[in-house]
């Protein structure tokens, strides 16, 4: 009795126990970092001296059985330690039951970063410059953007493209000029040393702080499960405003040095924007096609298929950065373009690998970014100026609100589904700033901009404000305003059929009216795609499949795999009248006698067929979800990850039906 009670108590304290272990481990790690860094410098000095003396004296030492050589592995070790810290933090947050529902993860991570930064600062004088801009832009940012681009829901994105572009381009421009201009005015009015700041640095600051950040938006919006329209609007805006930010930043940076901007420069700036945006998309599309083409030939080397997807996308990003084009738009274009073709070509396992790998990389990246943000805050040389900093925060908010309201007023004249006040509020409130703004500020050269420290302080304050205050309060506000939440979209075959049906219907009506609208061009693009592009980029047998059939096959395949995995497949006859070719599962057995576009269907007696259909149907109750996941934390339910009890129930049901099949015979 006592033993049982003690056991129960220990079991119930297990999560807390685990948490305690975690905290201790983390603290140990946190202290290891500064120690490691400190010892490395001393170790390398000693070694150098030793080597030196050895050469001169030739004294014979005893053979070192055990030695410590930290400098050798210093860099990889520290990097791994940071990543490990990030992952352990993620684990930890989800162990604490209520914390993750109140505070968004990004806030917690920044706090952790602050703590670790503080620890490091106590241990030694200087903090390693972790949020080095190069490191950020080349290694930390691409995985997140690629993840976003690959899983971008194309249909809602394209349907709202006009709205998104308006917000991204005009909204960001408005923000930048409003904030920059008013700040300049305020600086002039105040009689401190702020008057020394010229108009161009102010505009530069405005352009850095004006862009909505995709990383922050992703991190916060994922947890509030808002409806698809609002999600895609804010998220799309955060992705597409990169082009504007790039152009404005370079423009004002260049001219801050020179000191003046002429009208010609303005016109060149506009042209530059078009080049940057369209060039980035073009690069991305090019690499996307290459990736799709390559995937056509990988049927014999399935193992490295996922690599192609990652490598081509990364090359697209880097190539775009070479020419100062928008790397983010290149990545998005590449991911979006290559996805349908790659998915048609590669094996099922490779597809899973790509999905999981992308989610893993982007998750780690995001965690690291927020932690580093915290660390960099502790480190930086701050120059706090009440007026400047508070006014930047206030102006950011005001500019965003006015921008959103004004633009929505214009946009609603062209939209069928209008944006309500609630929508506008969420869009305005969801305009979070993040690490990109910080990194851009970090890039400023000290000698050109003597107020760099003040800028950085202001940027960090705005970021903290938006992430903490807006991030924490958006969830309760969404509940309070009763904003429409994301529907648990079971994308059934019904929906698929009717979507296509409506598309054809509306295209037909548009043609009758002679109106070349949205549907007309979409239809033309689809036709072109089917006729030429798919033949070129997809393995030949699968290129002729209509979209509906391909979708149906995907569903059937999932069901078939599930059936086999749950052990019920053994009772079924050898060939199920499903229309899936098992090509993807067993690449070594090509379909022998089938013509390219037809599948072999066995001849079965009617009664047998009915029983088999019943078996299939009883398993088809499970969700059939197409990948709608732009959610980092939980990949949308995979059929195989269902509960164990469901599998058992299914197996029982199946065995019952099987008994009925076998017994009457």
């Amino acid at each position: 009795m006592m033993a049982k009670m003690r056991f129960v108590r220990r079991v119930s304290s297990l999560p807390e126990f685990g948490l305690l272990l975690l905290v201790i481990f983390v603290l140990l790690e946190g202290s290891l970092l500064p120690l490691g860094a400190a010892s490395s410098t001393s170790k390398s000095c000693e070694e150098a001296k030793q080597g030196h003396t050895e050469v001169h004296n030739f004294t014979k030492k005893a053979f070192p059985v055990l030695g410590v050589d930290y400098g050798h592995i210093k860099n990889p070790f520290e990097i791994s330690l940071w990543v490990l810290l990030a992952c352990l933090m993620k684990l930890g947050f989800h162990l604490i039951p209520r914390l993750s529902s109140i505070v968004p993860e990004s806030c917690l991570l920044i706090v952790v970063g602050l703590l670790v930064g503080g620890l490091i600062k106590l241990a030694r004088e200087e903090v390693p410059p972790v949020l080095d801009s190069k490191f950020f832009f080349l290694y930390l940012l691409p995985p997140i953007i690629l993840d976003a681009g690959y899983f971008l829901p194309i249909r809602p994105f394209m349907e709202n493209l006009g709205t998104i572009l308006m917000f991204a381009v005009i909204g960001t421009l408005w923000n930048a000029f409003f904030i920059g201009g008013l700040l300049y005015g305020i600086c002039q009015i105040s009689n401190s040393d702020l008057t020394a700041i010229g108009i161009l640095p102010c505009l530069l600051f405005g352009s850095i702080i004006s862009a909505v950040d995709p990383v922050a938006v992703l991190a916060v919006f994922e947890e509030i499960h808002i409806n698809e329209l609002l999600h895609i609007l804010v998220f799309g805006e955060s992705l597409l405003n990169d082009a504007v930010t790039v152009v404005l930043y370079h423009l004002f940076e260049e001219f801050s040095v020179d000191g003046s901007v002429t009208v010609l420069d303005g016109i060149l700036g506009v042209i530059s924007f078009l080049v940057v945006a369209l060039g980035g998309v073009l690069f991305g599309a090019m690499y996307g096609f290459l990736a799709a083409l390559t995937s056509r030939f990988t049927s014999h080397t399935r193992v490295i298929e996922p690599l192609f997807a990652f490598l081509y996308s990364y090359m697209a990003y880097l190539s775009a950065e070479v020419f100062h084009l928008s790397g983010i738009m290149a990545l998005i274009a590449c991911g979006a373009v290559m996805r349908p073709y790659i998915e048609a070509n590669i094996s099922h396992k490779s597809h899973t690998t790509i999905k999981y790998f992308l989610k893993m990389l982007s998750s780690v990246s995001e965690t690291l970014i927020f932690i580093f943000l915290g660390v960099a805050t502790v480190d930086g040389r701050h120059s706090w100026n009440w007026i400047f900093v508070t006014m930047s925060v206030v102006l950011c908010l005001v500019a965003r609100v006015i921008g959103v309201v004004g633009l929505t007023f214009i946009i609603n004249k062209f939209r069928i589904v209008k944006l309500t006040t609630k929508d506008q509020f969420i869009i305005a409130y969801g305009g979070l700033r993040g690490a990109i703004a910080f990194s851009l500020g970090f890039l400023l050269k000290e000698d050109h901009f003597h107020m760099r420290d003040m800028f950085l302080t202001a940027i960090i304050t705005v970021i903290f404000f938006t992430v903490f205050v807006q991030g924490m309060t958006i969830k309760p506000l969404v509940e309070l305003l009763a904003v429409k939440k994301k529907q648990e979209a079971k994308r059934s075959i019904n929906e698929e059929i009717h979507t296509q049906f409506l598309d054809h219907l509306l295209t037909g009506i548009e043609d009758i009216c002679g109106h070349y609208g949205h549907h007309h061009w979409k239809d033309k693009l689809n036709r072109f795609n089917k006729k030429y592009v798919k033949k070129f980029l997809i393995v030949s047998e699968r290129s002729k499949e209509p979209q509906l059939i391909a979708f149906y096959h995907k569903m059937e395949m999932k069901q078939a795999i599930q059936l086999v995995e749950s052990g019920g497949g053994s009772k079924l006859p050898s060939a199920v009248p499903s229309t899936v070719s098992m090509q993807n599962i067993q690449p070594k057995n090509p379909p022998a006698t089938t013509k390219p576009a037809e599948r072999v269907l066995p001849q079965l007696s009617k009664g047998r067929e009915e029983e088999i259909r019943k078996i299939l149907r009883s398993n088809l109750q499970r969700t059939r979800q197409r990948l709608h996941s732009y959610n980092r934390h939980t990949l949308v339910a995979d059929p195989y990850e269902d509960g164990f009890s469901d599998l058992i129930l299914k197996k029982q049901r199946m065995m019952a039906i099987d008994k009925k099949v076998h017994n009457p015979r």
Binding site: I416, I493, F501, P546, L601
Partner: protein
């Protein structure tokens, strides 16, 4: 073309069409000029051949059904009023209309009328049910000739099985609305 069109369509007619369908004056005149450009016989009505002459409609899988929707039961000609009446289904719903005269009959572009229009494109025999065969016909049109009948049959079966809640292996209008989230789709499309 423009001046000729406006002289053939009288002001009272425009007003009547406006009241019936809710289109604006400029929209009606524009659609009238389109109507006359399609009307090769110049007799003020359109026949099926006139519609089939539109090239994009010929390659549209649902072309024939859409054309049929314009012609009322058993007739072969449609005049401008009928033309506008069908097109009125596709006018977007405007907010201010919702509060207008509640006793007047439902406007042509109300949500349920739109859904009914889409439903009727499936349900040719007008028995208010989409049977398996009717669904098969539509699928066959949308999918092309490469796919065998048995495959299509299994897709149709699954579609009906998903949507059918009362077990009569047909899709009624209510089941149609719920199953395919057509309502949501209609909101964004029409």
């Amino acid at each position: 073309m423009g001046s000729r069109a406006s002289t053939l369509l009288r002001e009272e007619e425009i007003e009547e069409i406006k009241k019936e369908t809710g289109f604006s004056h400029s929209q009606i005149t524009r659609l009238y000029s389109r109507f006359t450009s399609l009307d090769k016989g110049e007799n003020g009505t359109l026949s099926r051949e006139d519609f089939q002459r539109i090239p994009e409609l010929a390659i549209n899988p649902l072309g024939d059904r859409i054309i049929n929707a314009f012609f009322p039961e058993g007739e072969d000609q449609v005049n401008f009023r009928g033309f506008m009446r069908t097109l009125a289904h596709f006018r977007p719903i405007e907010d201010n209309e919702k509060n207008k005269n509640p006793t007047a009959s439902e406007p042509l572009n109300s949500r349920s009328n739109k859904l009914l229009f889409a439903f009727r494109l499936y349900d040719l025999d007008r028995d208010d049910k989409i049977s398996r065969d009717e669904l098969l016909q539509v699928l066959r049109m949308m999918v092309g000739v490469n796919i065998s009948d048995e495959q299509l049959g299994s897709i149709a079966d699954r579609t009906i099985q998903e949507a059918d809640t009362n077990g009569d292996s047909c899709i009624s209008f209510q089941e149609f609305i719920k199953a395919s989230l057509v309502e949501k789709l209609c909101e964004t499309c029409f």
